[in-house]
Symmetry: D4
Subunit: 222 residues, 8 copies
């Protein structure tokens, strides 16, 4: 198959403040390799998502040595991430242990782009006291990513208790009527708490980028 030149999008970063990430899900090792070579030549860094351990192991030793790989989130930092900023405006909250991998993708994305975060785990609404014990702490964060699968009730409850921005991050945890995350997604979209926003199922990367966009907005609002 003849083709035009490989087409990297370096302009994206200057326009949106977020450099293009590489979604490894639908790509062959060969394709990823070619992209990283081009990025390397341009002297840039990049975030890799949906990079499984198996796929990472197929990389050459040389390439592996350039990537800070994290198997719990299936992410990799190619070359140097952004410098870490001093302030911590974002909390990541999970409903249960099964949501940890998706939360980790959000956390790693924030880290790559230089943002600090607080991780608060396992406070799903089935045991409400766990959440109530920490409301004061949660309230301190202007931006809160709430990670929840199954019934997706946690964003609604937290959103009713605090005034900041709530990003619901539904996960595909569950089976049967959980419909691969569709139920958690819909529950957040139809939340009886006003002003909750939602990203795609299991999209930790997207939730983190949304939080960064909100911080950009914050720095420019008056």
């Amino acid at each position: 198959m003849k083709s035009t030149e490989f087409n990297l999008d370096f302009k994206r970063e200057e326009r949106t403040g977020l450099s293009e990430a590489i979604f490894c899900g639908g790509k062959s090792t060969k394709q990823i390799n070619a992209i990283l070579e081009a990025i390397s030549k341009a002297g840039r860094s990049v975030l890799l998502t949906h990079l499984t351990s198996d796929k990472f192991q197929e990389f050459s030793i040389e390439l592996k040595s350039c990537i800070d790989f994290d198997p719990s989130s299936n992410t990799g930092f190619f070359s140097t991430p952004y410098p870490l900023l001093p302030s911590k405006n974002i909390a990541i909250i999970t409903a249960g242990t099964s949501d940890a991998a998706v939360a980790a993708e959000a956390a790693r994305t924030l880290t790559f782009f230089g943002h600090r975060y607080e991780l608060i785990q396992d406070i799903g609404v089935a045991g409400l006291w766990r959440l109530l014990d920490r409301v004061d702490e949660i309230e301190k964060f202007p931006i809160i990513i709430v990670v929840a699968g199954m019934d997706g009730a946690l964003p609604t409850v937290i959103g009713g208790l605090v005034s900041g921005a709530i990003i619901a991050l539904p996960t595909s945890v569950g089976y049967g009527a959980a419909e691969s995350g569709r139920t958690a997604l819909n529950a957040s979209l139809t939340s009886c708490t006003a002003g909750i926003v939602v990203v795609n199922i299991d999209n930790g990367y997207g939730a983190a980028c949304a939080a960064i966009r909100m911080l950009t907005a914050a720095s420019r609002s008056n």
Copy 2:
């Protein structure tokens, strides 16, 4: 269209403890009339559900005088309901005002079959303090029907706070991703709180019958 005799099911009551109700939704005024005549001849009473005001107005004056009609729940009692029992074991809880009609169908069904209930309204999880103020009261009821549309989060939260039987009654309140009640239904089915049971969307009648079955079970368990 030639037909065999009209076929009423009086044996049902002796087997299940619940007499057959008439779902007026898919039936013509003429069909309902014929059924009520047969019931009248048999000297029995019956509950009518999904009976709109418009359909009720089409009945003859004579028939109307035999029916205790309630427009808020679209139910009617034809002839005398069951005698009222002394104890009050059931609470009906709603998330919001829009859920009132479905709650009313459950309430009327309980009344028809002689069961008392407590109605606790408007304590949806978007304003958690409303619910927390009343947990002690709710805990006293062994059987709790929780009526909620949209994200359907209320049954999960209540189920995590009390030990009794929780019957989730999803409603079709909401739009878009609420999917006509499907989201509230699925959220209760995939609740992270264990042991919640669910009935069909908007099925106040079914939730009440389930509560009665549980009381029957209670009277026979050891």
Copy 3:
């Protein structure tokens, strides 16, 4: 149906900064009346949404005189809205004329809560030059609500051109494969532009509340 007292949620405003709104969709005129009376007694104001002209006409003359009703958005302000704030941080952008009613709901919600906005209409991606002509203007707003039905492509394209927060507001405009807004919703959720957040189909009220939450977050971030 016996009931506990009507249950208004005045605490919500102090917790989340957003007073409870009244979704008139599933409520009878009688129910709305009762709620407004209670709010009136408490000396408060409230936003009414999904209030059709037909339903508004059923109100008493006295009640109608207390409501600033807008038929294009099906919203009403009961009593005095919040005082208008000086700065203008939010743009509302529509893809086509058919999206105007949903945009109007967002606009009215912002107005009720005292926030200014800029409305930019009819710049759907089928005629890309309309959008390109205005990118510089759009870029100035830190928070952008993008209203689009059918293929829901507009949030993706705008999000790729600017760095601020993008709230995709899908509408039910379209037929057939538009699936009552589900396609526009899904397209925004799976946007190839990173960091777009989404609210429910036709939920102008929710998009506006999300924007306000982001401004609250902005005022508290560092």
Copy 4:
């Protein structure tokens, strides 16, 4: 990924009478290990569900020796289960042999929490005589869990013959129009028999917990 402390929910048992179970489906061996260590330190026992033989084999020999593992139900008892209660109030009924694994999960959950049950297998309605032969026996149980996939007709037929509480437990047995259990689930939700309640597809654990909640309700009703 930095994190707050691991967050076990020991209060749940005192509130709901049911200790938290560990859903092993979405968790790594490492995560399960960490949770069990914490439980062990607290001197408690726990039920593990969705624990496949493959995952169990990955555990250390020491850990394996602390778990009573059952491959037919994919469940494990970590440490000592609850003491066995004397009475037998619950029947578990299956439509076919393919439903046995889900029934086994319900059975094991009951056993873990100290409840006896009667298992009645293979009496699906395609061979009605099998069911009719046993109606008298079934009628004796106040609470009946009915496990059925495909068309999910068995709960409806049994519910029409007995007066106790019926918990429909749909399974994902079948293909094509069985829609991974959705058809059996919907059939039970829309049952023409009144008062049937439903739990999620393949959720044997949830059905058992629901039965236990009903027994709690029974002990407290009057």
Copy 5:
């Protein structure tokens, strides 16, 4: 809109034994009129289905006089139906009164094409004794159309008791999880009774035509 000649399909009858029927659902009164005129000129008769009373009233007095209209089934016989055959091989069985209109469409279609049938009503499986009382009678019919909405369990139960051909005719009776008949349809498709065949939701006409095809097959098999 210029057009080619109107295109009637008289050859269909000689090939399949069933003349073309007119589905009035998507057609204007004017279109139906034109078709009937053409049929009249050709000296033929035709069955009209989905002909509501309202649409029928829009016909001219002259046309109305040529149609034997039945409002309970929304069918009409234009001109003379087929001569009635002597034998009675088909039973139509309904689960409940709400299924009567669909059963009536099947019945009228059989009558139009000259086939006798027995109608057995209201023997849904929620009251199994009603069905058991009549099994011997039902067994006598070689072809049985079973009309059932909601959970669609009746075809399965009957199919397990008799050896003849079972045509499941699902109806859109029910709400919520009944999914406009989809649940009854799927339940029959995944029936645990072998050899049940299914037609479209509410398609009484199709079920009757299928029965006639089976009788044609019977007359030609050896």
Copy 6:
């Protein structure tokens, strides 16, 4: 609601060869009026689609006199349509009479843009001889729009008999498993005949525009 100027897209025609049409479905009479005034001032013509007779009657007498309205297709020509071109390259074929309205929308769109067409009606595959009689005629047209609802089989059969471009135009004719046109749409998308292309359900306008794009392509290919 304050707004920027109304935003007409006159550049679209010069880029794509097709002027913007007005989809009247989601627009108020007032909105349509305002758009037409702007178009009138610009000295242009426009096609209106989804314009029902009821909505048309709400227009002022003056406006009505400027529109060539066709109730069978719910379309209107505002001001002068494009001049009629001499050649006839397009056939529109329908499966049944119920598909006529959608075919008419396609036909009117072609006429507005100056293209001739041949209309061949009622040759659905249930009566295959009707189609076979006309294959030679159909084969002569390089571009064929095939309009079919229900099972959507006609595009597949025609596509297997001729070599030209086949545009499948599924319609929402049918009920139950027809799923409002989704089945006809999917059937054409998964056609076993190679190279069939599809437009949205009931989108006669889109099918005609696609045909015109193909003629543009034809004039430029070599």
Copy 7:
């Protein structure tokens, strides 16, 4: 898990003329073994369906020797099948080679129950001449099973050409909009040809049983 006795259904055959088959899909080798032992003790034979080569290889050598296994259809005959009947009333027709496995399941089921059939392959409507060449041959069979995936158009076309009973057997062949056979299923259910009946996706066993039921009906009709 304690259990009641294993529950075989030998009465089914005498009631319906079809002995119970064993669906091996959801069953373990151990379960199948136990069932076959019981059947063996009862001196009966049985058909096994959904028996993959892998599962068959797990059987003991002794058991394997008692089974006539066919890998192309994933079926096995345990012990002696029914004696072969002399007449041949059934045709099995496939649209394409990919439908062969499902057709083979139907063919083997017929063989097990002693019925002859004619297999006519690869005559899908994309190449209509293949079908037209064989219409006379097809017309001779009173009962026709038509196997088709993707667009499922073949049953409609054949049903319009012949007068016998048509059993549509949709397959899961295809991808994307084929929706795992749902499109072929729906297309047959909404066929514009009257009187087509349908069985579940890939259910060759069910289609064969339906054909046998029709032959039983034929032998008893008059």
Copy 8:
């Protein structure tokens, strides 16, 4: 399973200009072998699609030597492809690298049938400047295949910029709300750009055949 002769469709090519391709997805190696032998005997060539590397490796060495296999597109040319035509009328455009495999299937199909094409990659709308840089180049091609997964926005944007025929080719790239390509498919079907046509998800073969049909139409239009 006895069978009629294997049924190849050589007439298809002369009728439609496109020879039958072999979809290897649902076929066994044995079946493919048999088909190729028959084709070989007839002295013809054929395109194989959905031929994975694993399946190709199962072929005999002899057979492999007759096939020009391409693992990036899972296609094979058996025997000689069509002679290459001189003109280049078709562009294939992809949104992202993950869409490359589907684009490759389209490209290989064009090559097999002798058509040249231009491949333009990675110009998705998230980075609009990539697309804008190449509009002039794209505009030159009369027929454009646009390959896009996820939100499927690219066909809409390109269609608004050029006048030629646009074939949207949705891919299953993405997860969650991408719904295996359904969202990209629906977005193109409901595109706000008029005249876009769509083929099935991942159907590169179909998109190429559609382009060839359009060229055939072009050669015959006037």
